[in-house]
């Protein structure tokens, strides 16, 4: 592959986030960081062009939002459209096929982030030369690990193909059910490698755990801040990535609300608009925009659940929670560890499902009485994903509201950047290489969509601008 071709692959997704992650740091008169802003300036407009489309098309249409975790959008929309189609409970085959698809997606997305995007930071250090600190560098120095990353991602993609028909942008979930079951051949093909995948997942948890424990002082301070956490839990409080009720806890683990039926999310969550970002700022209504913002994603899910219903992941969860005495863990870097706990949980679930004969069932779709409005929620790899639709009597969508995971993490990402900037900008109005590196690592921990475009070649395209207390630009660094 020529250099030119390589560059095109990397830049292409970046253009959708306006070329760069943009960060503005506003200083006060003493040159301390007053505010950090991560600007998300991409504008997609999906909520608008879904309007008018027939409801059964939406799960396939809306997944085009993303190429990394389209399954999340596919399933969140399908869950909403089940309700529109008048179906409250799927057949066991349909529900389990969708769960298998979702766990496959969680597995591949988390593996992609950990091995391809984040591992260079952990293995080489945040300040290492970008020429080494990238996935190619990992492949050179830790070839076995690089292969595991590729093979784990591939395995997740094979699960998606077997359930959705294609590895990316499939069609499996349809309103009221699923369009295929899992053939014996597909099942046996996937079972062949399952034990290897479990073993590698345990290894990956250990890498993240060992790193965090070895660098616990760094982890405790790096972009760490108290926050609320939000996510779905099962009725018995277990982690459930596919379906459940909303739970939010405060920084000490006290429940702000619990077992809330997500169809009523608007009673609990609101979104604030700020003039410097296209991304909204969600918050818990009862607390207000100032302090009601929350985190979502792997860290939050492990923080809020009472237990994980698969033995290996539950053991890891207990070990993780022991560090903070059972209270929520607020370390930004702990996202990596919890992401790997979820990876292990997902592969345990996949193994359980592959051995379930319901997947070979033939009762795939249910039909009910049409309804006009529905909400579908799912725990996407990056966090809680909200889909809300209204459909008219002609079967056409009249309203769509999507709160995506990265949006939920908007304020937390800004806060993390601020914390890091405070630490690495010591009274001088200039942007150092160290500051750039650390901002990059803090943002990446949240695995926001823009990170997918950034780390593959060790070059996170990032613009950091520094403004003094008068609002004048005093320094600007661009990292191509």
């Amino acid at each position: 592959m020529s250099d030119n071709n390589l560059k095109k692959i990397i830049i292409e997704p970046v253009t959708r986030v306006e070329g760069h992650g943009k960060v503005s740091l506003l200083l006060d008169e003493q040159n301390n960081v007053k505010q950090a802003r991560l600007h998300i300036v991409e504008f997609r407009g999906f909520e608008r062009f879904i309007v008018g489309r027939p409801y059964w098309e939406v799960p396939v249409l809306v997944q085009r939002l993303c190429g990394i975790c389209p399954v999340s959008h596919h399933l969140a929309a399908a869950k909403a459209m089940d309700i529109i189609a008048g179906v409250d409970e799927l057949t066991p085959t349909a529900e389990k096929m969708r769960r298998l698809m979702h766990y496959g997606q969680m597995f591949q997305s988390h593996a992609l982030h950990f091995f391809h995007l984040c591992s260079p930071d952990l293995l080489f250090g945040f300040d290492a030369d970008p020429a080494i600190r990238n996935v190619i560098g990992v492949a050179r120095k830790f070839p076995e690990l690089a292969v595991q990353g590729v093979m784990m991602r591939k395995y997740g993609q094979e699960i998606i193909k077997a359930t959705a028909g294609k590895k990316i942008h499939g069609t499996g979930a349809i309103p009221g059910g699923i369009n295929k079951n899992l053939s014996i051949e597909e099942r046996d093909f996937l079972l062949k490698d399952i034990d290897q995948m479990v073993e590698w997942s345990i290894g990956a948890v250990n890498i993240a755990k060992d790193y965090t424990l070895k660098n616990v002082d760094l982890a405790k301070s790096f972009g760490t801040f108290d926050s609320n956490h939000l996510g779905l839990v099962r009725e018995d409080g277990a982690m459930d990535l596919y379906h459940g009720n909303l739970r939010a806890v405060d920084k000490d683990g006290n429940k702000i609300f619990d077992q809330v039926n997500y169809k009523n999310y608007l009673d609990y969550i609101a979104e604030e608009v700020k003039d410097w970002s296209y991304m909204k700022f969600p918050f818990i209504k009862s607390i207000g925009p100032e302090n009601g913002w929350y985190r979502v994603g792997p860290l939050s899910r492990v923080n809020i659940c009472d237990f994980i219903d698969t033995p290996l992941a539950e053991k890891e969860r207990q070990e993780f929670m022991a560090i903070t005495g059972g209270k929520p863990n607020h370390m930004t870097l702990a996202y990596h560890w919890t992401r790997m706990i979820e990876t292990l949980h997902s592969i345990e679930k996949i193994k359980e499902l592959l051995n379930d004969p319901d997947l070979q069932g033939t009762d795939l779709v249910k039909i009910g009485k049409r309804r006009g409005e529905a909400v579908g929620l799912i725990e996407a790899p990056r966090g809680t994903l909200f889909h809300h639709y209204k459909v008219d009597e002609h079967d056409q969508v009249t309203m769509a509201n999507l709160i995506v995971s990265t949006t939920n993490n908007n304020t937390p990402m800004n806060t993390a950047v601020q914390k890091v900037a405070e630490e690495h900008l010591s009274g001088k109005p200039e942007i150092t290489e160290g500051l750039l590196n650390h901002i990059e690592v803090a943002i990446r921990a949240y695995d926001p969509c823009l990170s997918c475009a950034t780390h593959a070649m060790g070059k996170m395209p990032l613009i950091v601008s520094l403004f003094d207390h008068k609002g004048e630009l005093v320094d600007k660094k661009v990292k191509e």
């Binding site: 098309e57 349809i174 309103p175 369009n179 295929k180 779709v365």
Partner: protein, 235 residues
């Protein structure tokens, strides 16, 4: 007494035809596939899409309407003819709003299948992005005019087979569109889901509601074999 037969050639291969058969009919029976979009066996051919263009003794004709003539030399799969077809199919794509990635007809769509067969990977003409309307008023049938290629199958099927004249063409040139009983919505007509007109659309412009993506990827008509394979299997 047996029917009178004639002989002509397609790309140098001798084809037998009954007197009165079109080139398309004779070719189909002989297992030679000529790409087509508006032609459907049960409907009166009208040569509107021009995708079945062939050269008969050096002149361009539509194979679906042109009678087979004894001794004629027909060019079908030549570079020139394939180029013409490619351009025609390409124009059909850019003149509408064909988003295969979320169209439920994908994999069963004749336009998409012809494009694959003609190796069209990307359009060479600029997209026009026309503003087209949708009609969801019928309880069982949905119209998405973004995907209409004006083949006229629905117009003919409704008129000639269903006896209802639900559809008709209105407007001219780039403004031309399929209208429903002049200017009404489909829900105002007597069209039924069992009508022939509900079954003939080659693209995703007239679809049956709530079917969506019920057929999984891999089981759709053109997932395994290209369009025309059934005809070529006869040879």
């Amino acid at each position: 007494m047996s029917e009178k037969m004639i002989t002509f050639k397609i790309d140098g291969v001798e084809i037998k035809a009954k007197v009165g058969q079109t080139i398309m009919q004779a070719a189909d029976e002989a297992g030679v596939y000529i790409p087509r979009l508006c032609y459907l066996k049960d409907l009166t051919p009208h040569g509107s899409c021009r995708v079945c263009t062939v050269k008969v003794n050096g002149r361009c004709q539509t194979a679906c309407t042109e009678p087979a003539v004894d001794g004629a030399e027909v060019e079908n799969k030549t570079e020139e003819i394939e180029g013409i077809r490619r351009d025609i199919v390409d124009m059909l794509f850019v003149e509408g709003n064909h988003f295969c990635m979320f169209c439920e007809k994908s994999g069963n769509c004749e336009l998409q299948a012809e494009a694959y067969r003609l190796s069209i990977c990307a359009p060479k003409f600029p997209y026009l992005f026309p503003a087209r309307d949708l009609d969801g008023t019928h309880p069982d049938i949905f119209i998405d005019r973004n995907r209409c290629i004006l083949c006229g199958r629905c117009v003919n099927a409704s008129r000639d087979v269903d006896g209802k004249t639900v559809f008709e063409f209105v407007g001219r040139g780039s403004e031309k569109k399929v209208a429903v009983n002049a200017d009404a919505n489909l829900g105002d007509t007597n069209m039924a889901i069992t009508d022939k007109a509900a079954d003939v659309c080659p693209v995703g412009a007239i679809i049956k509601k709530r079917v969506g993506f019920a057929v999984p990827v891999g089981k759709r008509i053109y997932d395994e074999k290209p369009i025309g394979s059934d005809i070529e299997a006869k040879s």
